[in-house]
């Protein structure tokens, strides 16, 4: 299953909805799609929604860490939500728990940032 990426911007927050499989092969399109929006718009925060993501390995962690470093430069916040048990396990190993905000769903994430 390939990766499909749905992006939209609300205020200064980029919403990233993923479905399918995020691995090394599909990570390039995700990185490029996000970066091209970052170049065009004032984006401060990002919300990643993994609800329909059926697979992610450490290449996905690499992409998230890369985006985290980007938003951190503008003092923004990166939120991930809708983690299934498998993605949660990998995020635990990565230590991303310590630097990212994790919420249950997009609504909670929006409330956290005040873009609801």
């Amino acid at each position: 299953m390939p990766l499909s990426v749905h992006l939209f911007i609300k205020a200064d927050t980029l919403f990233v909805r993923l479905s399918g499989e995020l691995d090394h092969h599909t990570s390039f399109q995700l990185r490029e799609r996000i970066n091209s929006l970052m170049d065009k718009y004032e984006i401060r925060n990002m919300i990643f929604n993994f609800k329909n993501l059926s697979f992610m390995d450490s290449s996905g962690i690499g992409v998230i860490l890369g985006r985290y470093n980007q938003v951190k430069r503008n003092k923004g916040i990166l939120i991930v939500c809708e983690l299934n048990s498998m993605i949660e396990k990998i995020i635990k190993v990565s230590g991303l728990y310590k630097i990212l905000v994790i919420t249950k769903d997009e609504e909670q994430a929006s409330n956290y940032l005040g873009v609801a």
Binding site: D23, H24, F55, D57, S58, G62, I90
Partner: protein, 149 residues
């Protein structure tokens, strides 16, 4: 418990990133008769995905080559071997460190080998400079079921 028949498969494929998903599908298909839990299935898919990705980007440095994937099941234990004939690993202890990557500029997280080790019951790695790398993992599907029950 019903005795599962032993099984063996090997496949050689190109070291191109399209084959990361292909390798995951092969593993999923191979272990289906063993009735894995969803977690066991995902863990084995992740292990193979990490190993094949490493062959492509580290072993062959994105220049292509061949990867050999071998799958064996004996009773309820699965053994998976992933082999490349690429550059090899100079310092195995450093490579195995969590977060160590030789390619930080490519946004690698340095977690692949650690994940393979955590998700398997046995993890072995052999490498020789200029000859390639062999990853071998074992996972007992019954044992893990009991462990999480």
């Amino acid at each position: 418990m019903k005795q599962k028949r032993d099984n063996y498969a090997e496949i050689i494929f190109d070291a191109i990133s399209e084959n990361e998903a292909f390798a995951r599908i092969i593993v999923a298909g191979f272990i289906m008769p063993l009735d894995p839990t969803i977690d066991q299935l995902n863990e084995l898919k992740t292990i193979v995905s990490e190993a094949v990705t490493n062959c492509i980007i580290h072993g062959y440095e994105n220049r292509g080559g061949k990867i050999k994937l071998t799958l064996e099941s004996y009773h309820n234990e699965v053994t998976i071997t992933v082999v490349d004939y690429g550059k090899g690993i100079e310092d195995l202890n450093r490579a195995k460190e969590l977060f160590y990557t030789s390619k930080p500029e490519e946004e690698r997280s340095g977690m692949g080998l650690t994940i393979m080790e955590i998700f398997s019951d046995e993890f072995h790695i052999h490498s020789k400079m200029g000859e390639g790398t062999i990853i071998k993992i074992k996972k007992n599907l019954d044992y893990t079921k009991e462990k999480y029950a």
